[in-house]
């Protein structure tokens, strides 16, 4: 939280750039989408935990943070990066998430075939992540920044360190939990990054 608050200064300086009205609208729209998806991501995580059985969901249970193939959590130094760079990272993560979410949905279809709401939420989350990623890339393009070529992409780091054996049921549950958590983190992070652009624009 403190990192986010501390990073408010820089975007304000950047937001001195006069944003075009349609760009502002796009940013606001994307920000609203990110905020909505943040709420959905929380609901998805709750729904997911609810169907994994005990001790998932019990207080005090913290499964190991397994490395997720193709994606890593937002880096601690993420807040210190320039906003376009942050959005670039967000877009990359959001582009990687649909595949991961689809994989989780497939495993959950085997483990919880009679949980249609969870499966539907996972399917929708993949679609929504893809849509948000595309929207962020649109904003980046409008800002004149390229969506590719960023250093330290979360997807590259994850791919380099990911052995991907077919996990057992428990590992699949833990992996799915992490993917859902990553989805929430990246969507929330995107919302924050877009929020700084929005706060720089006139209300």
């Amino acid at each position: 939280m403190s990192q986010r608050e501390g990073s408010l200064e820089e975007p304000k300086a950047e937001s001195s750039i006069s944003l075009l009205p349609h760009l502002e609208a796009k940013i606001r729209q994307t920000h609203s989408l990110a905020r909505l998806l943040t709420k959905y991501a929380e609901q998805l995580l709750q729904e997911y935990v609810q169907h994994q059985g005990e001790p998932f969901g019990l207080p005090g249970f913290s499964p190991p943070r397994l490395p997720v193939a193709g994606l890593s959590a937002p880096a601690p130094g993420h807040a210190g990066l320039p906003v376009p760079e942050r959005l670039r990272l967000d877009a990359a993560a959001l582009a990687a998430l649909p595949v991961l979410l689809d994989g989780v949905r497939r495993r959950q279809a085997e483990l919880n075939p009679r949980a249609p709401r969870l499966l539907r939420r996972l399917e929708e989350a993949a679609r929504q992540a893809r849509a948000l990623g595309a929207a962020v890339e649109t904003v980046l393009a409008a800002l004149g920044a390229s969506a590719h070529g960023s250093q330290g992409s979360p997807t590259e780091a994850a791919t380099a360190a990911a052995p991907a054996p077919a996990p057992g049921g428990f590992s699949a549950k833990v992996l799915g939990l992490h993917v859902c958590g990553l989805y929430g983190e990246w969507v929330s992070r995107t919302e924050g990054d877009l929020g700084q652009l929005v706060s720089g624009a006139p209300a």
């Binding site: 169907h51 994994q52 059985g53 005990e54 001790p55 998932f56 019990l58 249970f61 913290s62 499964p63 190991p64 959950q108 279809a109 085997e110 483990l111 919880n112 075939p113 009679r114 949980a115 052995p163 054996p165 057992g168 049921g169 428990f170 590992s171 549950k173 833990v174």
Partner: protein
């Protein structure tokens, strides 16, 4: 040693086998010989031991002796053979059963000795070769070990039973966890045997070892058979995966079973749990641990999580506990269209397993060897499953087997069906109806399916309003995907029908579902009969009114459009009128009174047969009006059979209370009937109906009976109006009117008349409960009676009269009236005159008597009173009582008369008291000071009386102008003195106290008795002193100042009589009016 042992065992065995062949003597002899030889052998071959591993060659070995070295050994069997010995053993071919002499030659012994001994198979041990394990492998997912070895059966050309013993050891400590025996046969060839064993502990959790040995049980070998040596141990080669730490992974187990989980970890496991339940740790090698879950319960869909927590991580696995598939229940295979077979079943008990672990179903047909697989559906309920199997050409018999399988097991259910007998057609569609005529239609419908090979049995449901449902079955030749037609007959014309249809195969298996309903109105037909008609002549007799009833739907056969009315006689038929349908009567002027009226009904299909009725009405003079009451909303009418009635009987009825023309309805009855029941929805209870029974004779109707009646009688709704016609001092004549028929509501059965004393608005008059003695009731059952005289009444008395009518339906409301009888004047006069006459007579007699006895009366009751003026003590002036303002003080100077003037000699005894000496005389000056003349206070002296009156008013009286009678005042102090004291002290007693008593009070109070006081009190104007104070203020005594009685006391007491009135005191007998007064005589006391 073994040799010796065997040697000594042989006799016993020989005894068993050759007991019957060898005599005891010979047996003893041979023993001696053998003993000798044995001694020799022991000297040459120490510890001789013979073994065999293949039953073909014996390997005999011994220990070398110190004295000699064996060079050659010869065996004497069928052929004598010698074998050179190089070491201390020799291999010889297996010898046949029995004793064989063995000779050992030693060339190095000093004596060049020759030793002989007996060699027998019984002395040989059979020890098989150590088995060799060909392969030892493991299936980790199932934790199963597989072992393979060769039995080397080719070494044994016989059929030999072999027992294998396999042992499994676990962990580096090589703990024995399984020892199993496995039996096989040797068949003369080498065979490889497999053995498997499932470990409860996952094989990944610890190293497992195996070893094997065998025991060959060759029955024809009489020697000693022993186990082989254990084979060399083999272990499962396995290197744990770096990722997987917990075993087993994603295993499916049976609910209720026990299962072991282990965790392979480099760090110490702290906690293990299944779900949220902690489990005790079982330590394996190094830091590996295991937990054992007993009686595991069914898992939720995503499985049961098993978690191992180490210092730095959490490892886990998922276990799926469920059930094997239940036997498919209610397997049923049938066809709807003879194109495909649908097999349905119920899966039975849920397995608790979902997803890839769910049950797979395969439907296999054994004749065609074809099968279909059930596509997995995640159903939430235990609903029926189904599979479709295409019907094969030229195959009618199908043998289906439904296989169910999941990771925990499999089950199956089978059914053999002739599909031609299992046809349950689809629901018929496109049902249509087409008219043939007014009573027949054609039904058509579509039935999908290939039914060309069979006949269909179809059922048609025919529904008609207000009618019983009808079912018709029809057999139809089946066709392929076509429409079907069928005729439906015997319908009613112009009737709305509802059709629906269902079908099955002629070889009935199941009905299809009912098709949708189809409504249809059949065509019209001519009316089946004419309307029911009746005729009435109008009141003026000129017109004939013809009535007819509308035809029933079943008779009308269509919509009736009109009615044609005609009149026919012998000469001609005259058309009278055509009446359109809603009208069901016609009023026509008839020129001829004798004709036959004919009415026909017409619809679009034609005219009905005519209904005829004669117009003539035969008169009947002998007619009485009868009464009838219905039973259960029906009227039963009966009559005697009349052979003259040739046509029929007609009963018509109407509401008799209505003034309109009397026809409500009619009913025709055949001529041979003698009774009928009339019922109508129009009948109402309490309404009077008039019934007329007509008989038909000679083409004319005659009124036979006239009957009035009620369906049900009710109580009248009004009371009869009644008036009082005449009233006398002891009787009342009442007259009442009839109740109108419509308000009577039944046949009048009588009146109830109540009367009782009472006045209007008296509450107790309201009720007329039976049984009350003061109410008199008269039940008037003669309904023709309209008056009633009530006699024996009291004069000038108010009576309440109540009248109500009643029928069999109940008693009607009441009407009441109050009447006062006249006064009886003669009696009153007599009652007045008699007392007056008596009083006059008594008065006259009394007057006469008084006149004649006047002297005696005067002396007795009114003696002459002495004139007080003659008393010098009382110096009254003449004007003392004349109201003068210069009123002199009544001075009561104490005086003692010196003499008494006697006015009447007869009163002399009373004047004797004057001789009593007054105490006042002894104190002449005390308290009697002269007062001024104007002083108005009457002071009673002597002062002793004043001392007895503690009333302070006395002291103050000197300053007032009122006259205060202190004595009288003092008597109103009853509380101050007890009664006894009042009785004793006459001074404070009531009434006037003449002055003569005063000195007596003070002088004789100690000695005089109460009775004596009265006697000595001097003159008493009245005999009873007590009556003085009993007089009320209103009494004439008190008010009449002119009376003699009032003259007692002061002449001025009239001005202050209010002081003489005692306050009302209930306790005082004086205030209770104990004294008699004339006023009381007239008072109406409550207690009188």
């Amino acid at each position: 040693m073994m040799s010796i042992y065997l040697f000594w065992r042989q006799p016993s065995q020989m005894v068993d086998r050759k007991r019957m062949r060898t005599s005891n003597f010979r047996w003893l002899l041979s023993k001696f010989v053998l003993l000798y030889l044995m001694v020799q052998v022991t000297g040459a071959l120490r510890d001789l031991k013979c073994t065999t591993n293949n039953l073909k060659v014996w390997d005999c070995s011994w220990k070398a002796g110190f004295e000699s070295v064996i060079d050659e050994v010869c065996v004497e069997d069928r052929s004598y053979s010698c074998h050179q010995v190089e070491k201390t053993n020799i291999k010889i071919p297996a010898l046949p059963p029995g004793d064989h002499i063995m000779t050992a030659k030693s060339s190095h012994s000093p004596a060049n000795s020759l030793s002989k001994f007996i060699l027998n198979e019984k002395n040989v041990s059979f020890i098989p070769d150590t088995p060799e394990i060909l392969n030892f492998s493991a299936d980790f997912p199932t934790s199963t070990l597989f072992l393979e070895w060769n039995d080397k059966g080719s070494a044994f050309p016989y059929h030999v039973n072999v027992t294998w013993e396999i042992k499994i050891l676990r962990t580096e400590r090589r703990e024995l966890i399984k020892l199993e025996t496995y039996n096989t046969n040797l068949s003369g060839k080498d065979r490889v045997h497999q053995w498997s064993w499932a470990s409860d502990l996952p094989l990944e959790c610890a190293t497992h070892y195996v070893s094997i040995r065998c025991y060959i049980d060759y029955l024809h070998f009489s020697g000693h058979k022993e186990w082989s040596d254990w084979s060399q141990m083999k272990k499962i080669p396995w290197s744990p995966n770096s990722q997987t730490k917990v075993f087993p992974q994603d295993k499916v187990v049976l609910v209720g079973s026990d299962i072991i989980f282990c965790c392979i970890s480099q760090s110490k496991v702290l906690v293990a749990q299944i779900g949220s339940t902690l489990c005790p740790l079982i330590h394996l090698d190094e830091k590996n641990v295991a937990i054992k879950i007993r009686n595991i319960s069914v898992s939720e869909n995503s499985g049961t999580n098993v978690i191992f927590t180490t210092d730095d991580n959490v490892y886990g696995t998922v276990i799926f506990a469920g059930y094997p598939p239940d036997i498919p229940q209610k397997l049923n295979c049938e066809t709807h269209d003879l194109k495909e077979i649908v097999c349905t079943w119920n899966p039975g008990r849920p397995t608790g397993l979902v997803g890839p672990r769910n049950t797979n179903y395969t439907l296999f047909e054994s004749f065609s060897k074809k099968y279909v697989t059930f596509k997995r559906a995640e159903t939430f309920t235990n609903e029926s499953y189904q599979l479709f199997f295409q019907i094969l050409p030229d195959q009618e018999i199908y043998n289906f087997t439904l296989h169910a399988q999941n990771p925990l097991g499999k089950s199956e259910s089978a059914q053999l069906v002739n599909i031609m007998e299992r046809v349950s057609p689809h629901t018929p569609t496109s049902l249509k109806v087409k008219d043939i005529n007014s009573t027949a239609v054609i039904l058509s419908w579509h039935l999908p399916g290939n039914f060309a090979q069979i006949n269909l049995l179809c059922q048609i449901e025919i529904n008609k309003a207000n009618s019983k449902q009808e079912l018709q079955n029809a057999t139809i030749k089946g066709v392929k995907n076509a429409d079907y037609l069928i005729d439906v007959n015997k319908l009613n014309p112009y009737t709305k029908y509802t059709f629906r249809i269902r079908c099955s195969a002629e070889t009935f298996w199941k009905w299809s579902k009912w098709s949708n309903e189809k409504q249809h109105l059949t065509k019209e037909a001519i009316p089946s009969k004419g309307p029911d008609i009746w005729r009435e002549w109008s009141s003026d007799g000129r017109n004939l009114v013809i009535y007819w009833k509308p035809l029933s739907i079943s008779d009308a056969n269509g919509k009736i459009l009109s009615y044609n009315v005609s009149c026919s006689s012998h000469e001609e038929t005259q058309f009278l009128s055509e009446v359109l349908d809603p009208q069901h009567k016609a009023e026509l002027p008839l020129s001829k009174r004798d004709c036959i009226i004919s009415v026909v009904a017409k619809n679009s299909a034609g005219s009905s047969p005519p209904s005829k009725i004669p117009t003539i009405e035969i008169p009947n003079d002998d007619l009485k009006v009868e009464e009838v009451v219905g039973i259960g909303k029906k009227i039963l009418l009966s009559w005697h059979h009349n052979p003259n009635m040739t046509c029929d009987y007609v009963i018509k009825w109407c509401n008799s209370s209505r003034s309109e023309h009397c026809l409500m309805d009619w009913k025709k009855v055949s001529s041979n009937s003698t009774e009928t029941i009339i019922e109508s929805d129009q009948f109402r209870s309490g309404i009077r109906y008039h019934f007329f029974l007509y008989g038909c004779r000679n083409q004319g109707y005659q009124l036979l009976r006239s009957i009035i009646g009620y369906i049900e009688e009710l109580a009248p709704i009004v009371a009869p109006n009644f008036t009082v016609e005449d009233t006398s001092s002891d009787s009342i004549l009442v007259k009442w009117e009839d109740i109108p028929v419509e308000e009577l509501r039944g046949f009048l059965r009588g009146y109830l008349f109540y009367f009782q004393k009472g006045e209007k608005d008296t509450s107790k008059m309201r009720g007329l409960e039976p049984g009350r003695s003061d109410i008199k009731i008269k039940n008037i059952t003669d309904i023709s009676q309209k008056t009633l005289r009530i006699a024996d009444l009291q004069g000038k008395t108010s009576y309440r009269l109540v009248l109500q009518a009643y029928t069999d339906g109940g008693v009607g409301p009441k009407k009441s009236m109050f009447v006062v009888t006249k006064e009886n004047s003669v009696g009153l006069i007599i009652a007045i005159l008699i007392p007056v006459a008596v009083a006059v007579i008594v008065g006259v007699v009394t007057s006469i008597l008084c006149y004649r006895k006047r002297e005696w009366i005067k002396e007795t009751f009114y003696p002459d009173i002495p004139n007080p003026e003659n008393c010098k003590a009382l110096q009254f002036q003449k004007s003392v009582c004349e109201g003068s303002n210069a009123l002199k003080t009544l001075e009561m100077n104490p005086c003692t008369p010196n003499n008494v003037e006697v006015l009447e000699t007869r009163a002399a005894p009373k004047i004797e008291d004057t001789e009593i000496i007054s105490p006042v005389a002894e104190r002449p000056e005390e308290g009697c000071n002269t007062e001024p003349e104007n002083h108005v206070v009457v002071s009673y002296c002597p002062p002793i009386i004043e001392e007895e009156i503690p009333n302070p008013v006395v002291d103050e009286a000197g300053g007032t102008s009122q006259v205060i009678y202190i004595d009288v005042q003092s008597m109103y102090q009853p509380q101050a003195k007890p009664e006894e004291e009042q009785d004793i002290d006459p001074v404070v007693g009531p009434g006037y106290k003449p002055q003569m008593r005063l000195p007596i009070n003070s002088t004789l109070e100690e000695t005089a008795a109460e009775d004596d006081i009265d006697k000595t009190a001097g003159y008493r104007p009245q005999a009873n002193v007590n009556t003085w104070n009993l007089v009320s203020p209103d009494s004439p005594r008190s008010t009449d100042s002119n009376s003699e009685v009032v003259s007692f006391g002061s002449p001025c007491s009239i001005n202050s009589r209010q002081f003489l009135i005692p306050p009302k005191d209930e306790d005082s007998p004086k205030s209770n009016g104990a004294g008699w007064s004339f006023t009381n005589f007239f008072q109406n006391k409550p207690n009188d």
